[in-house]
Symmetry: C2
Subunit: 384 residues, 2 copies
């Protein structure tokens, strides 16, 4: 039920001693082929970590034979020394697996501005290489966790003999462009890197990119899709894209449910928008409004905060012709109160906000969490 | 020391019974002339409250003889009935003061989507009109408070015989375009409405608009400047503008210090930017980053979160040629760690973040607060 569900992949998750907790902190996933086509979507943050800079070079030719991921340190803003650490990690993987370091993707997650211990990383890579197995996908998923409370995995199995598997980590800083998250998706379908790229971008656009847990975008986000071709089956592009989207959506919803310190999962559906872009814009503005998010934490259907957040966007709408529903209760219609806010029950974890712009026929849903005491606690603890 | 410090103004602050607490909730400020020139800056939120819609009509001719302000209800998204309430409030003031309702500005603050009790408002206006006095400016400042813990007033007195006075309310939702706040500034200088408008816009641009407490922009913000001309003195435009800016800056800093549930006042100074706009953009991005704000609450000099917030802007800079100082300690230089973050003392309330973009010669400072447990508590309490 993870990255090793598709044929042609082996994985490991080991304790390299990078995390002070002593938990697993280094994951390795090897593509055993026969194909090694791959595609990656990177953070759009301009301040990028060394593994991002490295991996962009690796993926330029659309090929990757392995990916190594560490938690316990972001290796971002660590200068030339930090880049050397990434480089040496990739070389250690290459040596262990007898492949080129130019085919080894690297991901890191953790605190910015601290050097990683290259000795521990290299020893961890050796350990991981020795434990690579089709049985160890769940350990890899565990090794990439930071503040996650559970590991996240998902799979899709086609009745035509091919499958897609994935793992993700991320429990905060979920924002557009990509959440703070590392995702590895594998498939044993036969597919070119161009097809993988198209399928991955189409999937992330409507799944991970629609998560906006706290509006903060990481320097280290990376979503990787690798194909081994080991099933020998070549699905249609539509089937492949649908499978990648399904796995991405499952992982995205797992990230949402495990967002740092949240007590509500909020789906903000914006409909009757003039364009999908407008719908996303409005949804994101509400998703980032701290007053709204704190109100939901307090089980308070304070719909004025929703409209105030809608009003700061430049989306097409008449401010006095917007309808708002919270958990199905029509609290505001056409600029006036409608049903009593007291009818809204916000005690369940799932919250549905419906914003009807009455300006067109497009729609989009943006997902976020509430702003809680626990969020503040987790994110104010000394340097995490 | 308030709006009645300048000659030619009378004020009152009374208990109209709108606030459940029984505290003062209605303020009235009358301009006794001889001039009644005025200027107003309104929220840029497209979802605007009824008093905003009303006041825009009033100020169209650059004249206002009185302003009435209530706390305890925003009168926003209350439909035609809500607009009637605003209209009737202005008419009640006009009747009491024997002026035209077309010269009466109205402001409201409180919960969106609830009707105000017009009977209470009209009775409150009668009470306030009876108590109008040059001695009661401080009661007006008290009557506009919502979650403010203290009333905010400021004055400037010229040695040439004229003065400027002001009052403000606002303790959350401080954001660009205007904070959630109501501000009334008075002067007995002789000035045209055009001069007042120029002076007020120049002042708000670099004071209230640089406050970004929680990124949320209100539907009810209004900053009003009224001139009585009662001093008989006509200052130069530069002197008038400087005085209005000084009073605005004092009020803005009082708003910052009283922001809901904050434990740190954070000044984010962005320098060596290619333009002032770039500097503001970068400052605002950091000011709105919940991870950064939670870190400051935890006295954690987590400078990676600052750079991650800088990196999502499109300002001109080389991501690896940015310097960051926290309270004077150079924690990061040119994409690398510099002095140890352990040298930073974040225990004082005042926090100075210096971001040097090394891309030009412009600068700007944006002010914000930390994200605290108390912020979440105040804003998750049922409908405030």
């Amino acid at each position: 039920m993870t990255v090793t569900t598709p044929k042609g992949f082996a994985a490991a998750g080991v304790r390299a001693g990078i995390k002070k907790s002593g938990n697993r902190d280094l994951a390795l996933v090897q593509n055993l082929g026969p194909l090694n086509s791959a595609a990656v979507v990177f953070t759009t943050n301009r301040c990028q970590a060394n593994p991002i800079i490295w991996s962009k070079q690796v993926i330029a030719d659309g090929q990757a034979s392995a990916i190594v991921l560490n938690s316990g340190g972001a290796n971002c803003y660590t200068g030339p020394q930090g880049f050397q650490v990434t480089h040496k990690t990739a070389e250690a993987v290459a040596e262990q697996l007898s492949i080129s370091s130019g085919d080894v993707l690297v991901c890191s997650t953790g605190l910015i501005g601290e050097q990683l211990d290259v000795t521990k990383l290299v020893a961890g890579v050796e350990l991981a290489a020795a434990e690579l197995s089709a049985e160890n996908g769940h350990l890899a998923a565990e090794a990439i966790m930071t503040t996650d409370s559970v590991s996240k995995t998902a799979t899709f199995e086609s009745k035509h003999g091919w499958s897609v598997g994935g793992m993700a980590k991320g429990a905060g800083m979920l924002a557009p462009g990509l959440a703070t998250m590392l995702v590895v998706i594998t498939t044993d379908a036969v597919a070119s890197s161009q097809e993988l790229d198209r399928a991955l971008r189409a999937a992330t656009r409507v799944t991970f990119d629609r998560l906006d847990s706290d509006g903060c975008m990481s320097t280290n986000d990376q979503v990787t899709l690798m194909a081994s071709g080991a099933s020998g089956v070549t699905p249609s592009f539509e089937d492949l894209a649908a499978a990648v989207k399904e796995v991405s959506q499952s992982l995205a919803m797992q990230l949402l449910r495990d967002a740092e310190g949240s007590s509500h999962d909020i789906a903000i559906r914006v409909s009757k928008a003039a364009s999908e872009e407008d719908a996303v814009k409005v949804g994101r503005s509400v998703a980032r409004n701290n007053l709204f998010k704190a109100a939901i934490y307090g089980n308070d259907p304070n719909w004025g905060r929703i409209l105030a957040a809608v009003g700061v966007t430049d989306a097409a709408f008449d401010p006095y012709d917007i309808d708002v529903l919270i958990n199905g209760v029509s609290v505001s219609r056409k600029g006036m109160p409608d049903q009593s806010r007291d009818l809204v029950d916000l005690t369940p974890r799932e919250v549905a906000i419906d914003i009807v712009l009455n300006a067109g026929e497009h729609e989009a849903t943006v997902f976020t969490n509430d702003l809680t005491h626990e969020y503040v606690t987790e994110n104010s603890a000394y340097s995490s």
